[in-house]
């Protein structure tokens, strides 16, 4: 029989570290300060403004964009979405035994950002809603014998629908899904229904504004995964696949569309909240929860209300720290307007968002993917009635990662993410302040932002529950 454990993000046992965990925060801060001085001394011209685009061989682009591959991958996406919805609605209510929860919240939600940061924007070809919309749009055009017309997307909205949707998705998982103070995860039935509702909403928006427009602005997953793809050394331009200098696409992705900063902030804040909920915030949540309980609010509603308040506060805190850094930059002579700076530096947070994802979910991903490709694949409903691939009896090997390995990966991810963020910020400052001394001075406050995010991240991880 396979191992049955409560689905939780707290799969990290206590480490046995040679030095106290808080010393890692000091070491990370020193690394950031030293990196800052090294950048100030040696990095005097922008390096990330030119993508250095090198298109790949034409045949490779043709193969990757060919119709058979698009149909195959799109069909796979639609099939897996269907399996997830069916398993969610008709399968077991045990979240760890149901295919839907692990597939939606681990394999797709964490797997695609990792894959996108390495290989570029791989999600569109698998995007089930894009595939359905393209087939439906093509069929409608064929029947009507004319191309379908769409409403003009209000450009002021930018990526705000995706930012709000991202928060909504995480809220569904960590706030709506929490019950009785124990992180048992969302009920599979609720996940299945939510996937149906989101499918209807997305297809309606795609019909209104056009498939590609909605994918680039409002479709939560395309925007979220696409954000991480801007860090990758591979991309697509004018129908050609090619290579580029890593990280260079990030600045344009943020600056081009309003609301992109909100997507990055929402990503960092939602991961932070997920990590803090069972650790750093625990006593605060209990304290605030008591006010609602005393006022006669039911236990489940109390948990959801307090969690929602803390989640909103985390979003405001992350946004506030970033905006303080931007405000600090404004004090340097020759600074552009606040709004331009706010948009111009938001891409520096994307490596941090990825670092937070790796730090918080790396162990969960390694453990749950063992379940995904063994017993969840063989018995998607979790009812012990099927054994499709003969792996239904398998379990998770929790000794695959030691607590110390997890901790060191987390620390390395956080430091690397923040050093990259600092490098991107310094590079962008050289665009606004060609005098490298002023550029370095403008980055004092971004250094403070990076140190603050690093120490906060390490604190969340060290107190457990992350």
């Amino acid at each position: 029989m396979s191992v049955t454990l409560p689905f939780a993000h707290a799969l990290v046992a206590k480490q046995d570290l040679p030095i106290p965990a808080w010393l890692f925060a000091w070491a990370a801060s020193i690394v950031l300060v030293v990196s800052f001085f090294a950048l100030s001394a040696a990095w005097r011209k922008p390096q990330f403004e030119d993508e250095r685009w090198r298109p790949s061989a034409a045949w490779l682009s043709q193969v990757l964009r060919s119709w058979p591959l698009q149909i195959l991958c799109g069909g796979l996406g639609v099939f897996l979405l269907g399996v997830g919805i069916y398993a969610g609605i008709h399968g077991t209510e045990a979240p760890d035994r149901n295919f839907a929860i692990t597939f939606f919240f681990v394999t797709a939600w964490i797997g695609f950002p990792f894959a996108s940061a390495l290989f570029g924007d791989v999600f569109p070809i698998f995007n089930p809603w894009r595939a359905i919309a393209r087939v439906a749009g093509g069929a409608c055009a064929l029947l009507a014998r004319r191309r379908m017309r769409h409403l003009a997307y209000p450009e002021k909205l930018g990526r705000w629908p995706a930012a709000l949707g991202l928060l909504g998705f995480v809220w569904l998982e960590v706030v709506y899904g929490s019950s009785g103070g124990v992180a048992v995860g969302l009920e599979p039935h609720a996940a299945g229904v939510a996937a149906c509702v989101y499918t209807g909403y997305t297809l309606a928006m795609m019909a209104l504004f056009g498939t590609e427009v909605w994918c680039s602005r409002g479709e939560i997953f395309s925007v979220f995964f696409g954000m991480f793809a801007t860090l990758a050394p591979f991309g697509a331009k004018d129908g050609r696949i090619g290579r580029r200098r890593p990280l260079t696409a990030a600045a344009r992705w943020v600056a081009a569309v309003p609301g992109s900063t909100a997507v990055v902030v929402a990503s960092i804040a939602s991961t932070s909240f997920d990590g803090a909920e069972d650790g750093a915030y625990k006593s605060g949540l209990e304290h605030v929860g008591r006010w609602f309980s005393d006022a006669g609010v039911g236990p489940l509603a109390t948990i959801r209300i307090t969690d929602s308040i803390f989640m909103a506060a985390t979003v405001l805190a992350v946004a506030g720290v970033y905006l303080l850094g931007v405000k600090g930059m404004r004090s340097v002579p020759g600074a552009p307007p606040f709004r331009e700076l706010q948009r111009g530096f938001a891409h520096t947070l994307i490596p941090i968002a990825l670092a937070y994802l790796v730090a918080h979910y790396f162990s969960l991903f390694v453990y749950q993917e063992q379940a995904q490709f063994t017993y969840l694949l063989s018995d998607p409903l979790g009812t012990s009635t099927t054994n499709l691939f003969g792996t239904a009896e398998y379990g998770i090997d929790f000794s695959a990662l030691s607590p110390n390995v997890i901790w060191y990966v987390q620390v390395a991810a956080l430091i690397a993410g923040h050093v990259l963020g600092l490098t991107l910020a310094h590079d962008r400052a050289l665009v606004y302040w060609p005098d490298y001394r002023r550029a370095s001075r403008s980055q004092y406050w971004m250094l403070a932002v990076m140190v603050a995010f690093t120490c906060f991240g390490l604190y969340l991880l060290s107190v457990g529950g992350a």
Binding site: P20, W22, V33, W445, L458, Y459
Partner: protein
């Protein structure tokens, strides 16, 4: 009597975990302090240089 003494020694340490966050805030405060100090020093130097130019 002996038990009371031990309890008095141990109890305050039982809650030390609640104050661990201070160790994580300290580097941030040190960096912010350093930034404020160097910003002030740079502004003072700029003012001094301007003063010299005027003279």
């Amino acid at each position: 009597m002996g038990e009371t003494t031990i309890a008095a020694l141990i109890l305050p340490l039982a809650h030390i975990g609640h104050w661990l966050w201070v160790f994580y805030v300290l580097p941030v405060l040190i960096v912010i302090g350093g930034i404020i100090r160097s910003t002030r020093a740079e502004k003072k130097r700029e003012r001094d240089e301007e003063g010299k130019k005027r003279r």
